[in-house]
């Protein structure tokens, strides 16, 4: 793992600058989160930069949760996907800054999560959920019946990124993608 703080925040998430970068972005867009396979790395907002020089590709991703084992799998999947497309020399590095937040997740990603049965994270920029010491988060809806009458069962779920909730209307338990 190469970890660094990206000094140049403006360089982050550069759009396709040329045809080859565009092709790379398209290839990378097929790489999915191994734990939540409906989300691409781009949906998740972890793909921060792609650059290519003399056939050497450098991909920068930002880790989600510190201990998320999916990050290693993502790095491997990126290398495999690019290798299959003929790029032999690929470096995947992790940049810690700017710190990943669930606000990086795309709207498309949020919708895919909901359809998949996971309540998407509430937006930090419109709520103080992640900083609220009570842990009581407003604005979570049941992905089954859209009710907002939900209750927290546990702040920890089946993976590092999820909390466990229950809908008080349809009584179904569901995963909530934690807002950080």
């Amino acid at each position: 793992m190469v970890v660094s703080a990206d000094q140049d925040q403006a360089a982050v998430l550069s759009p396709a600058r040329d045809a080859e970068s565009a092709r790379l972005m398209k290839l990378l867009n097929a790489v999915c989160d191994p734990e939540i396979p409906v989300l691409t790395l781009q949906d998740l907002g972890v793909l921060r930069n792609v650059s290519v020089r003399d056939g050497e590709v450098e991909v920068t991703i930002t880790p989600t949760y510190s201990g998320c084992p999916a990050m290693s799998a993502m790095c491997q999947d990126i290398e495999d996907t690019l290798a299959a497309a003929g790029y032999e020399q690929v470096t995947v590095s992790q940049s810690l800054s700017p710190t990943w937040t669930t606000d990086f997740m795309s709207d498309a990603g949020r919708n895919k999560l909901r359809t998949y049965g996971i309540a998407p994270p509430v937006l930090r920029r419109t709520s103080h959920a992640a900083d609220d010491d009570s842990g009581q988060i407003q604005g979570i809806e049941c992905p089954q019946c859209d009710s907002n009458q939900v209750e927290l069962i546990s702040e920890f779920g089946s993976t590092a990124c999820k909390a466990l909730y229950r809908c008080k209307d349809c009584r179904e338990p569901f995963d909530y993608f934690k807002c950080i």
């Binding site: 010491d133 546990s154 590092a160």
Partner: protein, 253 residues
């Protein structure tokens, strides 16, 4: 201004050791917790700590310039080279002991990482920013458990009270400043741990009071982890943690 590289490497390794030892202890609860949700919670928190250790070790390895990898740092050092706080290496004890330790450490960590986020070192700032987010929900949980156990049944009250008594003397070490850290402090890199004590005491005392628990006496104190002088428990912890790499050097999953 460039801090002494060796000091910075050792600072990162000590911070990584704090996280790895406690993360390993928490992982020992896997499949042994009182109920399923708690099993998931303990192992999730363990992952956060182990992930944090990786970030510190990776940065240390990077600073060293390729002499060692993050895995070498974790798996190929013996007790005397570990620099973690003693409280983090103590056995889990019962569930009350585990949650009492988490409270003491979580309150401390939130204060520490909030300060580290102001460091003059960009990589430490980035790791701190990530850690703060996790410390918040760790603390919410340990605080809630201490209150539930303290203000619970006679037995749970007694167990968590005993736990705080047994852990109390390990707390002064949290606020010690080894010489290398004082040098880094002078360079605007390290956190002045001494300044964290007042707020730590005020938060911990408040939670203990709400939990109907007595504040233990400051009648004893023990330290040494920062100099590699550990309790007898660390050797057993490392024997398990490092077994695979010791038995099959270089083995990968």
């Amino acid at each position: 201004m460039r801090a002494n590289k060796t000091d910075l490497v050792n600072y990162c390794i000590a911070l990584g050791d704090d996280s790895l030892t406690l993360g390993h202890r928490l992982s020992e609860w896997s499949s042994n917790a009182p109920f399923l949700e708690e099993d998931l919670a303990l192992t999730n928190v363990a992952l956060d700590f182990i992930g944090r250790a990786r970030m510190f070790y990776a940065y240390a390895a990077d600073l060293e310039g390729g002499e060692r990898t993050e895995d070498d740092i974790a798996y190929l050092r013996d007790c005397r080279e570990y620099r973690n706080l003693l409280i983090n290496e103590l056995p889990n004890g019962d569930f009350a002991m585990t949650m009492a330790r988490q409270l003491l450490v979580d309150v401390y960590d939130l204060g520490f990482f909030t300060e580290l986020a102001q460091s003059g070192d960009a990589n430490l700032v980035a790791i701190a920013a990530k850690s703060i987010k996790e410390c918040r929900y760790h603390l919410r949980r340990s605080e809630e458990w201490v209150k539930r156990l303290g203000d619970g049944t006679t037995e749970s009250h007694q167990r968590v009270q005993d736990a705080f008594k047994q852990l109390w003397g390990y707390c002064p070490e949290l606020f010690e400043m080894p010489e290398r850290e004082q040098r880094l402090l002078g360079e605007g890199i390290a956190v002045d741990r001494r300044t964290l004590k007042k707020n730590w005491e005020s938060v911990v005392h408040k939670v203990l009071k709400e939990a109907t628990l007595d504040i233990p006496d400051n009648s004893w104190a023990i330290s040494g982890g920062r100099d590699g002088i550990h309790t007898e428990h660390l050797g057993y912890l490392l024997a398990e943690l490092q077994f695979l790499q010791r038995a099959y050097p270089g083995q990968q999953w």
